[in-house]
């Protein structure tokens, strides 16, 4: 049996193009703010887990030394877009097994270092050598989804419109302007049928959460925080032949395991932060999470079921499409959003009486896999 684990604080910088900040410059402020908000001292921290994909050697140690945090284990984690959430999963494992009491998790990424363009993928990968880029992978999912269902490009645009509407309410979001279906459809084409506003922007960001055991939470007399009801990490499995690109088994399986661990179902959720790296992904993940039957995810966006006032608010933060997607930071930023929503600190985008939240990130473009990694967490207001 594992012990209860709680998120007791969260902090992040607004995502955007912070060209004059290094990895250290991005992460130090939210690191200090999260420690202060948790009401802990540096000496209370047992371990630091740092998710990033492009930070280079010893990113975590470079950040922590700036605030004189050392000696304790610092673990650098790379799982592409799941790096930050994987770091949380590792921290959760250590605490839930009783090995440590308090962990700090940092997610950080600086994509402006690449000067624009699509996300750099491993040049050793077979399909990368053939010219695959992430927008093309999602575009092919979209082509197939439009082929198999009655969805249209207008539906793909509706996802971006919702994301921008939510992002407009979020001071942490990279995009804070609302948009329309017409604007989205008439924008620059990236990979058919995806236009630019159907793709998440590149940018820089950092987010930090503090995780604590029940014992530590009581000892510190800290604020209640939120309980980690499920923490699930899956890896992709190779298919040399057919793969159903609109039923990604890695997200279906992770959701199934997360619901089982939490003892709840999709109808219990008040909010979800999911991996909407491209608008098509959101429709596919509605189905993967059991919010809709396969092929009918599109009905939810048409009927407004996944915005404020609907059945479950999906990406209240604006999601990757509006909040931005600094790869390694995203998984931690999603948990920060869940923390603020479940502790009534989400300001203009607060979901009324939110109790249950799910966060979901996948990661990686790798030949033969749907995604390389998928992390799902479920949280309950404490």
């Amino acid at each position: 049996m594992s012990d209860n684990v709680f998120v007791i604080s969260a902090a992040m910088i607004p995502f955007g193009k912070h060209r004059t900040s290094s990895y250290v410059g991005l992460a130090v402020s939210p690191l200090i703010d999260a420690i202060r908000d948790a009401g802990i001292e540096k000496s209370d921290i047992d371990a630091v887990y740092v998710g990033h994909s492009y930070g280079g050697m010893m990113t975590g140690q470079r950040i922590c030394k700036e605030i004189g945090l050392g000696t304790i284990p610092t673990v650098n984690v790379d799982n592409a877009c799941s790096s930050g959430a994987t770091a949380i999963h590792e921290a959760w494992q250590a605490i839930s097994q009783g090995l440590i009491d308090i962990a700090v998790v940092i997610g950080v990424e600086k994509l402006t270092q690449f000067g624009g363009g699509t996300l750099p993928l491993s040049p050793e990968d077979r399909e990368v050598k053939q010219g695959i880029i992430m927008p093309a992978v999602y575009a092919m999912r979209a082509t197939r989804y439009l082929h198999e269902t009655d969805a249209t490009p207008e539906d793909l645009a509706l996802v971006s419109v919702k994301a921008r509407k939510h992002g407009a309410l979020n001071p942490f979001a990279q995009f804070r302007q609302e948009t329309t279906v017409e604007e989205v459809l008439n924008a620059r084409r990236v990979a058919d049928p995806l236009t630019l506003p159907m793709c998440c922007p590149t940018g820089d960001g950092a987010a930090v959460v503090v995780l604590a055991s029940e014992r530590a939470r009581k000892r510190l007399d800290s604020k209640p925080g939120i309980r980690v009801a499920a923490s699930v990490l899956h890896s992709g499995h190779v298919a040399e032949g057919f793969r159903d690109m609109i039923k990604p088994e890695i997200s279906y399986d992770s959701a199934r395991d997360a619901y089982a661990m939490a003892g709840i179902g999709p109808k219990d959720l008040d909010m979800i932060e999911l991996h909407d790296a491209f608008s098509i992904a959101e429709l596919i993940y509605y189905e993967a999470f059991g919010l809709a039957e396969p092929g009918h995810g599109v009905d939810l966006i048409r009927d407004g079921k996944t915005t404020f006032g609907g059945d479950v608010v999906v990406n209240p933060s604006g999601g990757l499409l509006s909040k931005g997607h600094p790869v390694g930071a995203s998984g931690v930023a999603q948990v920060a959003e869940a923390f603020w929503q479940l502790t009534d600190q989400a300001g203009a985008r607060q979901i009324d009486k939110a109790r249950w939240a799910m966060t979901h990130v996948t990661g990686g473009g790798t030949a033969g896999l749907d995604h390389g990694a998928c992390t799902i967490h479920i949280f309950e207001a404490a």
């Binding site: 990236v190 990979a191 058919d192 032949g241 057919f242």
Partner: protein, 134 residues
């Protein structure tokens, strides 16, 4: 010295030597595949290890030059101009990423496609017999 056994050295796989997915076979120029002699699993590219049963007894084989277009996109970003790219499910079940060449027949998922070769470039294009209208 007492007699002792010595742990064998594992050897690196020279997987950077065979980059091209196209090769010359008795049938002509074909996509290069690998077939496991232990379990029969067939894979795209030159492989040394079977990803199913991890046997190293893997043979180089020619892959079918026809298949079905599972999905496709046209990439508009980057330096290559507009670039159609798709996943093709070959007639033996192996899936490959491929450049797709568009002609008079509009691309659509599930259409039959066949391998074409222009000097150093290879691609798939709608198969003869695919109609202008689906």
């Amino acid at each position: 010295m007492t007699a002792t056994t010595e742990a064998p050295a594992s050897q690196p796989i020279a997987d950077m030597e065979a980059d091209s997915l196209i090769g010359t076979f008795a049938e002509g120029q074909r996509l290069v595949g690998s077939q496991c002699n232990a379990c029969g699993c067939t894979m795209i590219g030159s492989r040394v290890v079977c990803s199913s049963c991890i046997s190293r007894d893997v043979s180089r084989v020619a892959l079918p030059s026809t298949g079905v277009l599972y999905s496709f996109t046209r990439i508009h970003v980057g330096t290559a101009g507009i670039r159609p790219l798709g996943y093709v499910d070959l007639d033996n079940g192996v899936r490959t990423l491929a450049d797709i060449r568009e002609g008079d027949v509009p691309l659509r998922p599930d259409m039959r496609v066949e391998l074409g070769i222009d000097d150093d470039d290879w691609f798939f294009a709608p198969a003869a017999g695919e109609k202008r209208e689906a």
